[in-house]
Symmetry: C2
Subunit: 307 residues, 2 copies
Amino acid sequence: MSLVVVGSMAFDALETPFGKTDKIIGGAATYIAWSASNFTQTIKQISVVGGDFPQEELDALAARGVELEGVQIKKDEKTFFWSGRYHMDMNTRDTLETQLNVLADFKPVVPDSYQDCEFLMLGNLVPAVQLSVIDQLKNRPKLIVMDTMNFWMDTCMEDLQKVISKVDVLLVNDGEARQLSGEYSLVKAAKKIMATGPKYLIIKKGEHGALLFNADQVFFAPALPLEEVFDPTGAGDTFAGGFMGHLAKTKDISFNNMKTAIIIGSAMASYCVEKFGLERLKEIGKQEIDARLDEFVQLVNFDIELG
Amino acid sequence: MSLVVVGSMAFDALETPFGKTDKIIGGAATYIAWSASNFTQTIKQISVVGGDFPQEELDALAARGVELEGVQIKKDEKTFFWSGRYHMDMNTRDTLETQLNVLADFKPVVPDSYQDCEFLMLGNLVPAVQLSVIDQLKNRPKLIVMDTMNFWMDTCMEDLQKVISKVDVLLVNDGEARQLSGEYSLVKAAKKIMATGPKYLIIKKGEHGALLFNADQVFFAPALPLEEVFDPTGAGDTFAGGFMGHLAKTKDISFNNMKTAIIIGSAMASYCVEKFGLERLKEIGKQEIDARLDEFVQLVNFDIELG
């Protein structure tokens, strides 16, 4: 039984108010796998890279227990590249350059050894690619979680709606929830979106935390107030990785356990943003994660007497 | 021993995406008193109104246990009037009209009977007026809480800083915390602001909740996700009233009790925004408040096992 992760593996070049990087390793599936591998060791990756993707990065993932049979390596092509600049609020960014490269005609192939998929994490990617992976799985996974972004709402809403109708948990940010539903109120947006398929909706609000909706229940997870958000790239993917890693580890997909999983995802994301790219995620282990989880407990813990 | 509240009592005319009102009753001190009177009955009001302010509104406050000896009634003048229009996000608004009227030369006079002031709530008002009230009290209150706004930062920063240096708890929103400190990071902003006097800082983030800072501690209170924010006018004052009402009731000014007080303030604010003006606040009682507090407990409650 495994956690299958689908998503980009990429090069990013980033500019933030605090500094800039040359090409560094990025990609949704990379962040998800690094984050999730703190909690579960049966991660199976589906992605595509070019011949320019460093072998040592693949080796580092393999050493974390991430299987890479489903990662296509196109020796004569180049890895997906994205370059962006963040504004002071770190919630808005401009894309400076996008080179799709190997992603332009990515046809995911699910290896036979991945057919034991119990948890499927669809990282942000072309909806048709996400759908293809669902279709290739012979047994419906216990839980399908999907991330996406406004770009697909603008360019291929029909495909996107098709995938959304097949997943259990959808992850979007507040702006995307509003765009997808046409509702400004996030409570109304959540109801409309859940009516199209997903039983659970997670609305990520960056520095303002995240909301988990399920039927008439709602849970709010705060973001840790940080002195400095150094680089928000990958924070959403890292959140998804922690969320999914915890669920795959515990095999408990109740609303109650999803609340815990969201706090764990938030803790992972709070580390991610402390340095550029994957740097901080590669440094932390169980001790750091537990310390941060304790900070979250302190952050929201209060006593109230009713009646 | 009493809770003294200083602030405006006013007429508001409001436009929101959901409707508009003619002149209705508003003002920081009005909202604070209505909210706080759910928790403590020794509220003493300091404000000023014109001859046009309805006697039945004063009577309604008196019936809630609010003493009005410190409310000046200038029979031949008009009550402060503010008219504003809210944008779709309800966090931004345009002022359409401001008539200072009686507020233009308001000189607060603290009655002798208010000298038992144990808790002082300085609602948003000209800093010089707030300062005058502090100066007129012969004994320093156990706790001074101050609300303010960006307008005073733009127009009389020196006076404002003087008041801030004398209070225990400062309430501002996120934009104001950034403006006051010159720091974008709210954690850095909080440290800088607390270094100028207040031991506690509450940063209100509207629909994104509120943060309470004290030395190296931080607490995060969510806002309840609502189907509709009908009218946000007075939400901050209502929050302050619930916060201060609970502290005055319990007489416990520990960080831990302030966390509870913030949740109570948030619950009160979540009712305030459901209808125009004071309408909803006038309808609710202990039963509604307890029900909403329970919703807050459910909203943030999670289990996590460390180690």
